[in-house]
């Protein structure tokens, strides 16, 4: 895991010299793609960013996880199951209480993300993405609280939060049907870009976010915004599902590694 992190830093250092700043201010795909057809950070069109995942990042939480996907850094802590808030009505199954926040230093302009509509939309989308995967009947009447903090916004923030949250839930020992992995895809010019960065998101004509339970082959949430030609949308979906399945494998690997590590300590 540690060496992956090193790789991330290395690959981004190279890009700094190849005019990322320039690309960020230009519109359209011409500047986002190099002459060879690669993306500005050296990736292929259908290539994911490098990631670093870790569980047990917050010691006071029942379960937690930290994820770095490219430049995007998020931390998710899970508390509970604990008693539901008094004001809430009785519910025979468990509840998920989701909370997503941007750190004030997460964006290039300090505190800017905190005022956006995303702040209100993200918890709802996170809840929708996870509620189908968590066995809510195993903790009737009680609530599991999920607190996500975006430390650095580097594009694909919500997918990173969703993947990270499902790892944190697994770390908390909460029963789930499957891990949920998520990835966002952008439609820029005539190309489908997988796992978009912040620059690419700004330039894209359409965005697609898929949250997927890989081993059950079920999509828990699909969010499409902007303009998408039909054929391209299908292509983007199949590419996204493939990426989600691969991310899920990395997540499994990480959870198992953590477990094996604990045993060695004892």
């Amino acid at each position: 895991m540690a060496k992956r992190r090193g790789e991330v830093a290395a690959s981004y250092a190279v890009d700094a010299n190849s005019g990322v700043g320039e690309a960020a201010f230009s519109r359209g795909p011409a500047r986002l793609l190099t002459a060879d057809g690669d993306r500005h950070d050296g990736r292929q069109l259908h290539e994911c960013r490098l990631n670093f995942l870790k569980t047990g990042a917050v010691s006071s939480a029942a379960g937690s996880a930290y994820a770095e996907i490219g430049q995007t850094k998020v931390i998710v802590s899970v508390f509970g199951p604990r008693e539901s808030h008094k004001a809430e009505a009785f519910s025979g199954i468990g509840r998920l209480n989701c909370n997503v926040q941007y750190a004030s230093f997460a964006t290039s302009v300090r505190g800017k993300a905190n005022q956006g509509a995303e702040e209100k939309e993200f918890p709802v989308l996170l809840h929708k993405a996870l509620e189908g995967a968590v066995m809510l009947h195993t903790f009737p009447k009680t609530t599991v609280d999920i607190f996500a903090l975006i430390l650095q916004s580097g594009g694909g923030d919500l997918p990173a939060v969703i993947s990270c949250a499902s790892m944190a839930l697994a770390d908390a020992g909460i029963a789930m049907y499957d891990l949920v992995s998520a990835v966002s895809t952008g439609y820029v010019g005539k190309e489908v870009l997988l796992d978009t960065t912040l620059e690419e998101e700004k330039c894209s004509d359409g965005e697609m976010m898929v949250t997927f339970m890989a081993s059950r082959n079920e999509i828990t949430q699909l969010k499409i915004t902007g303009q998408w030609p039909d054929a391209t949308m299908r292509e983007a979906l199949s590419v996204s599902l493939d990426a989600c399945a691969k991310l899920a494998n990395v997540m499994r690997e990480c959870l198992k590694e953590e477990l094996a590590g604990v045993d060695e300590d004892e």
Partner: protein, 192 residues
């Protein structure tokens, strides 16, 4: 450990339902036993008298999901408030597992003892600070779990007297302070 340790994560297929039965930490889906938690995978032989003779697959680890009270569970609770018709308690343990954060429980007047339930005086059954063993009757309402102490082995297991000493049970409805010899009424549990 000498045996090979196999870890599994939620969603991983562990075996066919034709061969194995799903145990704790797993569920049945699409003809397979699938893991639902992260943990160590184990195959347990079924008990000899069980009707289902398939070996059971379990997935478990030390760090489990926090304990949650459910109907039928035995809980340990601390009385917080006694009212004429009910006593409010904080649930501290479910079975043998301590809960991380307290759950609110409620012992209603009719659930204190099994006989003469209409003559129960709550103030002669519990006092604030008493530790009780109780059974969860139901999930209750939005506020609290409904608890019952209507069994011989349920009721007050530990109480302190006005003098501050640990009281000794002397009958199923009386406890005595070892310092002042004062008797106080409680719904005493017969601890076996």
């Amino acid at each position: 450990m000498s045996s090979i340790e196999v870890f599994s994560t939620p969603g991983e297929v562990l075996g066919s339902l034709a061969v194995y039965a799903p145990g704790p930490g797993t569920y049945a889906w699409g003809g397979n036993v699938v893991s639902s938690v992260v943990g160590l995978q184990r195959v347990v032989p079924p008990s000899p008298d069980a009707p289902d003779q398939r070996p059971i697959i379990e997935v478990s680890r030390e760090k489990e999901q926090g304990a949650v009270p459910g109907p039928g569970a035995q809980v340990t609770a601390k009385i917080r408030k006694v009212q004429p018709r009910q006593a409010i308690a904080d649930i501290l343990c479910v079975g043998t597992r301590a809960v991380k954060e307290k759950f609110r429980g409620l012992v209603r007047q009719q659930d204190v003892r099994a006989t003469e339930i209409d003559k129960v005086d709550m103030h002669l059954s519990f006092r604030p600070g008493d530790i009780i063993r109780a059974e969860v009757l139901s999930l209750g309402d939005a506020r609290a779990y409904f608890l019952s102490t209507a069994k011989n082995e349920l009721g007050v297991v530990s109480a302190t007297s006005d003098a501050g000493a640990q009281m000794v049970p002397i009958s199923w409805q009386e406890m005595q302070c070892p310092v002042t010899f004062q008797k106080e009424f409680r719904k005493v549990a017969k601890v076996v």
